[in-house]
Symmetry: C2
Subunit: 457 residues, 2 copies
């Protein structure tokens, strides 16, 4: 075993194509449906809101989709990203497991999100689009799209969940620094925002509402498109540079991991690291466990229902087959980080339904406890989202110790927590709360859903 | 010319020794003096507050001082750091100059400061020290020492300038996350703090006061030592890994820069990048201009006096020969970032006196204007300190355009601004102020000095 703590790749080892898992799935996800007609949504239906190349990729049957050279050039600002052996954490846990983590926090915006923001901005620019709209919660995605839009000379308009806009001003200032316009959502700038404000002027907002606002604006103007930071196939695919690099890096140590872990919001972080390993499971006979780490306050994978649902609150998006808590589920305000989205992407949902991946829910206090142990042993301050993945990695390393087995555990350290120190402060002062939903709350959230069932395959 | 934007080194190219410029100086700095006896301070005088190896390095006659392997191992968490060609910035400026920047913001604490915090913590641990005390202003240094102390299992006690402690809670939380204890200075925990609070209970604090508190505690207890983040010879030497890496990186492009620029607080940032290039000037006949960028609100290099002065406010430290504004100079509160220290290190002061380096003062608003242009063209959000260096780089690139000359400009992007977004917010909202001291203010500050003149050489 090498004693190297950091495994770096050369720039020329940056992946040349994204991996599209869709053709390899044993069962294809049910098609997205038009909510009015309940007929499958085709590429043409998406043209008002997405650029053509993005739509093509959403439906692509190709296993490998080439990364355009201008996108690779921007990636090279921070990619390939380092893979670390967590020797400090291993020692603190006294575990026989080898723990590795991929660090995506070195990107300009501090998370994995630019991996898809950059190509999306590029394809929009290539098509002559002038303005991109999007939503953001804690702000990781908004920052990434602001950075990417600035790079390709596009105007960027961001609808930020109001409670985050007010409580987390610094990510907003970061977006402003990259030239983006940021509005608290619900806003008065859209029909959907005005409708919600009329019913509840103090509405704290949600990702679903902010998506409605951003999509509404894109649909109204031919030179404006919408960009999504998770859930959809093309977004998940763009993130696969993460896992591809991990495979090359672990290969240098002659290692195939036993377990791959990532935090789970809409699925892009998890897909990014796990899909290239699932590729090995699906085509090369490996048996790597891939575990999605979600918060107990928003547990769509572990306690949600598999059903057609909208991606947004107002119902502008197509109906997607997903594990969901219902499109108007609003997570408790206690939750510090992202991962607050009500549903999971169609591919990831299908993988879970087919038992090709696993999911675990982590409560917020355990997540921060794990994050602080990580910071003290490895030096990097993780984002609250990342803490959920770290908690699962620690739990699996402890199991390895109980079992006396030398497992290799890999997790995605998807971003740094530099803009989340108020959450750490709350944790240290005992003010951070955990929230586990009661079965009645889950039943109530899901009971409101009147969307179609996903037909059995 | 290569089209690569990022020049990376392999881990095995990490420098194996620090560069000590002292033996190469044409004129040695005058010795530090004991303030009571006015006799030169010898190594033994420093033993109560520094570990032996640090003292040895402070006086070392060796040109190259080997970096211990355990220190190199920690360096490898983020070193070698990347060197970027600023093509986006060059394009925006339409300059014939090639602009390169070394990015030190990828360290765990986000600046160049761990380059010296790590060896200092290591040498203390080796000597059996249990606790390190230090001061911090904006928090960059405190974070670095908290991280390094945590790594080597030492207790870390940090005196943070009160106005920063109150206005910048997030760097404090970062220090807490790495297990350090942070106190607002002046505090009631030391004699010097109590004396100042008795005279002025609302005292906002200064670096000089915080140094007095930290040094006082170290002097009282044999298992406690003090650690300084700039000014002294050993600190500057530890930072030379920066410039050494730059030389290797530029060498890959067959480039010797015309101009090397860094922000200037006490000198460690500037020394880190410039001393290895000054080594070339002093021993190989190159003529590289090295420019220190200081704030107009604390202009010791451009408007201060060359004289013996204390490193702290209370007068606990030896008298050092330095460019200074006087040890009780308190910069205007308007200033957002670091660089607020009253004096410059002895070596850097001697270099300036001998006209081997240059200095320029930058006002705060110009600095932020430059920083925002940089963020929008290069993607990285710079620390306010770093913005001063960027401003000088931009000014030199504009001169190159006027002169129609293809110069190569290198600057040290010493840290990211993730914990300084409130300053960016102030800049965007027009609330950020610049402050240029009047001649009367300068005269008043310097007029208070009753310390000895430095004898002519």
């Amino acid at each position: 075993m090498s004693t190297r703590n950091k495994i770096h790749l050369r720039e020329d080892q940056l992946p040349e194509a994204w991996y599209n898992i869709l053709p390899h799935l044993p069962n294809q996800p049910a098609p997205a449906l038009n909510p009015q007609t309940l007929q499958p949504v085709g590429p043409a239906d998406l043209e008002p809101i997405f650029p053509l190349e993005v739509i093509r990729q959403e439906y692509s049957p190709d296993v490998w989709v080439p990364i355009p050279e201008p996108v690779r050039e921007v990636y090279k600002l921070w990619r390939p990203t380092p893979l670390f052996r967590a020797r400090g954490l291993e020692k603190a846990l006294d575990t026989p497991a080898a723990i590795y983590y991929k660090y995506e926090g070195g990107s300009p915006s501090g998370s994995h999100k630019p991996n898809t923001a950059v190509p999306q901005a590029y394809y929009n620019q290539q098509q002559g689009v002038k303005r991109i709209t999007t939503e953001t919660g804690a702000g990781q995605w908004g920052c990434a799209l602001a950075f990417a839009s600035q790079h390709f000379g596009l105007t960027c308009e961001i609808y930020m969940v109001k409670v985050s806009y007010e409580q987390k001003p610094y990510r907003r200032v970061l977006m402003n620094t990259w030239g983006a316009d940021v509005y608290p959502s619900p806003s008065n700038r859209t029909e959907s925002g005005r409708r919600i404000l009329a019913a509840d002027p103090d509405c704290a907002g949600s990702l679903g509402i902010a998506i409605s606002e951003a999509v509404e604006l894109a649909a109204q103007s031919p030179d404006t498109k919408y960009s999504l930071g998770s859930v959809l196939n093309h977004v998940l695919m763009h993130q696969t540079v993460i896992g591809q690099e991990c495979i090359k890096q672990l290969d240098e140590e002659n290692i195939i991991p036993d377990i791959v872990i990532a935090p789970f919001g809409g699925g892009s972080n998890f897909a990014g690291i796990s899909f290239p390993f699932l590729h090995m499971n699906l085509t090369k006979g490996t048996n790597i466990r891939c575990i999605a780490a979600e918060p107990t306050s928003c547990p769509k994978l572990t306690r949600g229902v598999f059903r057609y649902d909208f991606g947004d609150t107002a119902g502008f998006t197509p109906l997607l087959p997903m594990y969901t808590l219902g499109h108007d589920f609003v997570p408790a305000r206690i939750h510090a980080g992202g991962l607050r989205y009500h549903g999971a992407g169609a591919i990831v949902s299908q993988l879970l339904k087919d038992k090709l991946i696993e999911a675990q829910a982590v409560d917020q206090i355990s997540a921060f406890e794990s994050g602080v142990l990580f910071a003290r042993t490895e030096g990097i301050i993780p984002a609250p989202e990342a803490n959920h993945g770290i908690a699962v990695a620690i739990s699996e390393a402890k199991k390895a110790k109980e079992e006396g087995r030398k497992k290799t555990i890999l997790f995605n350290l998807c971003g740094h927590g530099h803009f989340d120190m108020s959450s750490y402060e709350a944790y240290f002062s005992g003010k951070l709360e955990s929230h586990e939903l009661s079965q009645a709350e889950i039943d109530e959230a899901i009971g409101k859903l009147h969307t179609p069932e996903v037909p059995a395959q």
